[in-house]
């Protein structure tokens, strides 16, 4: 330590900017008030909230990637996944919540893409929290109206002859796209295949990686 610092601070450092510097918004105050009331009334506890956040944090596209890779290597699993998505992901230890999972398969003739035009329904148990763009009015209104233009903005150009099938999650189903296994991956192990499966390829706005990401 510098010799001059070996004393009680005679001067003040400017405070570091903090996330709570700006005044709280109407909805932040509303949330806080309702949360405090619900805890005070014993509807749930602070511990319940923390545990729920822990569950959200444990969900990520890594889980969806495992599901897709298993379907690529195991045709019987793939058949079960397409027949009943919820049951098939539970086989891999991924619990669905109250919603049901429908898995839709990309083929050389059909490309699937998922949207929720009404709000932001998303298959959280297999993909985690949705990206901000998924919740934007731009994505929600245009994916259903001009899906090919939206896909092009994500860098996805479909060959002629491929039909685009949009899935609007308006109610109690959640959708996951089963992308096509990239060409040239025949020799790859299931775990390596899972790393090719990106979040966006399971929403359907892009295709899986063609090869593993290598460190630069």
């Amino acid at each position: 330590m510098h010799a001059d610092h070996d004393h009680v601070h005679p001067h003040r450092h400017p405070p570091q900017p903090d996330v709570e510097d700006t005044p709280s918004t109407y909805y932040q105050r509303l949330e806080e008030a309702v949360r405090e009331l619900l805890i005070a009334k014993g509807i749930f506890t602070g511990e319940d909230i923390r545990r729920t956040l822990e569950i959200y944090d444990s969900q990520s596209p890594v889980l969806g990637g495992k599901v897709v890779a298993r379907a690529w290597v195991d045709p019987a699993y793939k058949a079960r996944l397409l027949a009943d998505g919820s049951k098939a992901v539970e086989e891999l230890g991924i619990p669905m919540d109250t919603t049901k999972l429908v898995v839709v398969e990309n083929t050389p003739a059909v490309h699937n893409v998922i949207v929720c035009t009404l709000c932001s329904c998303y298959p959280r148990p297999v993909l985690g929290l949705p990206p901000d763009w998924y919740k934007s009015r731009n994505y929600r209104s245009r994916t259903v109206r001009e899906p090919r233009a939206v896909l092009a903005e994500f860098g996805t150009q479909l060959p002629d002859g491929v039909d685009v099938r949009v899935h609007d999650s308006t109610a109690d189903m959640r959708y996951l796209v089963l992308p096509m296994r990239p060409a040239g991956t025949e020799g790859m192990e299931e775990a390596a295949l899972a790393e090719l499966v990106t979040r966006d390829s399971m929403i359907g706005v892009s295709l899986p990686r063609a090869a593993p990401v290598t460190a630069p």
Partner: protein, 94 residues
């Protein structure tokens, strides 16, 4: 509760604009589609939204629409479709 419609059947989405919490997107009202699959019955979200029990449960369907029929100026291929989940009380035989 028996499903009123079967997979493959042609259906028409009612055109209605009642107030409240609705799960039938505006863009699909009044359009014709085909039942892609029959789903389970669920508590009616239009009732749940107002703190009621949502019973009797409503049958839910996935209905497939041809994009060219949904959007008159649709730019895409003739085979492009959109699937929407719609509750039975919004559907009529086409």
């Amino acid at each position: 509760m028996n499903a009123r419609f079967n997979a493959g059947e042609k259906v028409h989405v009612r055109w209605a604009d009642p107030p409240g919490h609705l799960r039938t997107p505006y863009y699909i009202r009044g359009k014709n589609g085909v039942i892609e699959r029959v789903l389970d019955a669920f508590a009616n979200p239009e009732e749940l939204a107002f703190g009621r029990d949502g019973l009797p449960k409503q049958r839910l369907y996935r209905v497939r629409f041809r994009q060219a029929e949904v959007w008159p100026d649709y730019q895409g291929q003739p085979g492009d479709t959109v699937d929407v989940e719609i509750y039975e009380h919004w559907l009529e035989r086409a």
